[in-house]
Subunit: 295 residues, 2 copies
């Protein structure tokens, strides 16, 4: 059994840390607002800072909202770096910038430790059910060391490549998902505005080249007008921010990612930050004064 640190115990981190405790590991916990009582009841140990967690554990996991939060918890006052000693592994499971991740990994390596970036997909449902997909970048030896820990939290666990590649994969996933939602939205809205039944059009397209998980799931949500998340627009906006900021740094042009972010922005302007991301269709519908279908 490992000594594991878990920093960040929000809607994702708390159930993930719970699986590690239930799996028999010794888990040291820190979050800004203190660890949830039930994690302590189940056998977790509270620590007063990220630094103390890093000093106590051999594998230190971070699960916080965004790039600046990871930087602060790793390298800020009383942060992980201050508590590390050589031979430990830092695993960032947050979804953050791939470019920043490479710099963080280099700084952790200088301390004689390994760094894995291991963002997840599957949301709070996947976190609770321990069915997350986990996309990992970093040294293969570190990946293998931590694999059994990942396996307590997720199902599809892929070692993609070197440091940053896990975050890059997550961003690529969020680009493709957002743009495929938009593709389905344009197709179904066109069909509906032209007078066809979008449900029959979707049926006719399933099985052909237009087939996608998104046409199946999100296409149905657009037709049935069920926009409860699922995955919130506000979260997908954060991910497309990462895509667009990193695209600027890397020098790559993502025209439809930019348009999708604009459409998400139009949704939040209508109060849709908490809509499911399939609600992107509503921004196109407003431009057309027409809905894909009546709910």
């Amino acid at each position: 059994m490992e000594k594991i640190g878990f920093i960040g115990l929000g809607i994702m981190g708390a159930p993930m840390a719970g699986h590690l405790i239930d799996g028999g590991h010794e888990v040291f916990l820190f979050s800004r607002s203190g660890p949830p009582a039930d994690l302590i009841d189940r056998g977790g140990t509270a620590r007063a800072s990220a630094k103390e967690v890093a000093a106590s554990a051999d594998v230190i996991i971070t699960m916080v909202p965004d790039t600046p939060d990871v930087e602060k918890v790793l390298f800020g006052a009383n942060g992980v770096a201050e508590g590390l000693s050589a031979g430990k592994v830092v695993v960032d499971m947050s979804s953050i910038s791939p470019v920043a991740t490479k710099a963080f990994a280099a700084r952790i390596k200088e301390l004689g430790c390994d760094y894995l970036d291991a963002p997840v997909s599957g949301g709070d449902v996947g976190a609770k059910a321990a069915t997350l997909s986990i996309m990992v970048g970093g040294p293969k030896v570190a990946f293998e060391r931590v694999h059994a820990v990942f396996a307590l939290m997720g199902k599809n666990i892929t070692h993609v490549g070197e440091s940053g590649d896990g975050q890059t994969t997550k961003v690529a996933n969020q680009i493709i998902v957002a743009l495929t939602i938009e593709a389905v939205a344009e197709g179904l809205l066109f069909a509906s505005k032209a007078g066809a039944d979008p449900s029959k059009v979707r049926d006719a397209l399933m099985g052909g080249l237009a087939t996608s998980r998104i046409l199946e799931i999100h296409g149905e949500r657009m037709i049935k007008r069920t926009f409860d998340p699922g995955f919130r627009i506000a979260l997908h906006q954060k991910d497309l921010d990462l895509a667009l900021q990193n695209a600027k740094t890397l020098g790559v042009s993502l025209p439809n990612t930019a348009t999708c972010q604009a459409l998400f922005n139009a949704c939040t302007a209508q109060g849709g930050a908490a809509w499911d991301h399939s609600g992107m269709v509503k921004a196109l519908e407003q431009l057309a004064h027409h809905q894909v279908a009546e709910g």
Copy 2:
């Protein structure tokens, strides 16, 4: 057995008409350059005009390149309309404007005949193998009358709705396919430029929410640099023209369809009119001075 007319005997029409002849129907043929000799050898009957075809046959099929071609062959001098008598069925299997199709259907109906719009997907490979997908709009009774004829040419035969709905479905398909190709292109190009192996990224994404037929097939073409068609960019440009022109008429905003057409235009500017449509990635690559992968 039916008396069938077939007008337009190009790369798609010739094999389709051949299946009807081989299926035992009496088939009357017309094309501007005369019917291929092998269709006559197999039992087809040449006619001197679309008008004569319409006079001889009960079900008259048109398979020509674009909206103005359909209009000319139906309503021009010596066209189908001049040869029709009440009770016949006109079946346009070309891929043309949904809005124009509704007007054509109304004019044919005035002559006491039925009109079906029945565009196909599957390309010349599907035409030869009789595995086309056929998306049909128009009266259900006419659809049922012609179903056995369709079944000689295709496999997935769907009655979507009223006149125009077949063409609308085809346009929606081409919108979703183009935009999903673009989605995969942005995702894989971002990943590659960020230093990840696009092949491993694609593997990690398959099975999750980003899964699509396009990620599977066209994503692989982008990685392996195999841009032989497949489906030619020039043909997809024609389809997106239909989408954008009809979107203007209908009053619907298709921002990413417009961008995809712009990217296709950039490909043709590089001599890529005959590339497979997955070659759209090359336009994004040129903007980034970077390829998804080395071929």
